[in-house]
């Protein structure tokens, strides 16, 4: 099992993802520079967090034109699992691999804290090891996480079960108070129609081992390993 980790100029969670894949799960992992078009035989591709291209213009707006993104798009089209974390999620939105857009947080501030998330879709290659409806804790750290999309797109996402994670209270209740950034309908993560492309604002890579006080994020990566083994 090999993870490909895309590195844009300004990515800063690439090493975290590499650590999770290799040190915690014993998988292979390879960095893929944004100018490369070869995914080096990756079984799953991760777009890590950070500030690709300094987030100039809009977060993710310039990264989507990197040569590697065409390869990522065709990999996704063939059903390959793609995970976008935080800035990686923003890149997936700008690239049109997931629907919608990010706005600045409603509080106009960078928000960095632990949040509770409800797992609403356990059928993606990155969430299969979480029980559906379970509540997990993960950290967020972003300025533009206020997810939005036209109402009909939001309805389609809901109807097709494509909301993967939703901000919630610790007991799983979805409330406005538990929504850290104003995201439409409390959406923290979504997936593509086929489910193989997943984007989320929280950072599973930052909570994947007990040493960090929380290892609930590990299951996202472990799910991908399980999905690959089952193929």
């Amino acid at each position: 099992m090999k993870f490909g980790i895309v590195v844009f100029p300004g990515s800063n969670c690439d090493e975290d993802c590499h650590h999770v894949a290799t040190q915690l799960l014993g998988c292979e992992a390879e960095y893929i520079w944004h100018h490369d078009t070869d995914l080096k035989g990756s079984d799953a591709v991760i777009l890590p967090g950070g500030f690709a291209y300094g987030d100039y213009l809009r977060a993710g707006a310039l990264a989507r034109f990197s040569p590697v993104m065409e390869s990522v798009a065709s990999f996704a089209k063939k059903g390959g699992p793609v995970l976008g974390i935080c800035n990686g999620f923003q890149v997936l939105l700008e690239a049109g691999l997931l629907p919608g857009a990010m706005q600045i947080n409603r509080g106009l501030r960078y928000v960095c804290k632990d949040v509770s998330l409800k797992v609403e879709n356990d059928a993606t290659p990155f969430t299969s090891l979480y029980p559906k409806g379970s509540v997990v804790t993960m950290p967020i750290g972003h300025m533009e996480g206020n997810y939005t999309a036209p109402p009909d797109v939001l309805d389609t996402l809901e109807r097709d079960g494509r909301v993967v994670f939703r901000y919630c209270e610790r007991d799983g209740r979805v409330t406005d108070a538990a929504n850290p950034n104003g995201a439409a309908r409390g959406i923290a993560g979504i997936c593509s129609r086929e489910g193989n492309v997943v984007g989320l604002m929280p950072h599973p890579d930052r909570c994947a081992e007990k040493l960090l006080g929380n290892d609930q994020g590990l299951q996202m990566f472990a799910s991908a390993v399980a999905a690959m083994a089952a193929r």
Binding site: L57, R58, A61, F65, E94, P99, G100, A101, Q103, I104, N105, R106, G107, L108, N146, T148, A149, P150, G182
Partner: protein
């Protein structure tokens, strides 16, 4: 030729920056301010002398990159 592209939040899209600016203006005593929408302007210098072509090019630039048309509208003006 000089072309200006204005990019702004679409009508009906919540604009947290505009709301904050409106509130700040109110606090500064500008009681007449009812609403603010915050956008960006791009001043683009393009080669060639054909205004219509420059305008068409700028529209393409807005669609492809300058605006995220999910949440933003834009307009294009050839200045000179």
């Amino acid at each position: 030729m000089k072309v200006e592209v204005r990019v702004y939040p679409k009508e009906g899209v919540l604009d947290p920056q505009g709301k904050a600016i409106a509130a700040a203006l109110g606090r500064l005593g500008h009681g007449t301010v009812r609403d603010v929408r915050a956008g960006k302007v791009f001043f683009i210098d393009v080669a060639g002398g054909d205004a219509r072509a420059a305008e068409a090019d700028a529209k393409k630039m807005a669609e492809e990159l300058l605006a995220n048309t999910v949440i933003e509208g834009y307009d294009v003006r050839v200045v000179s």
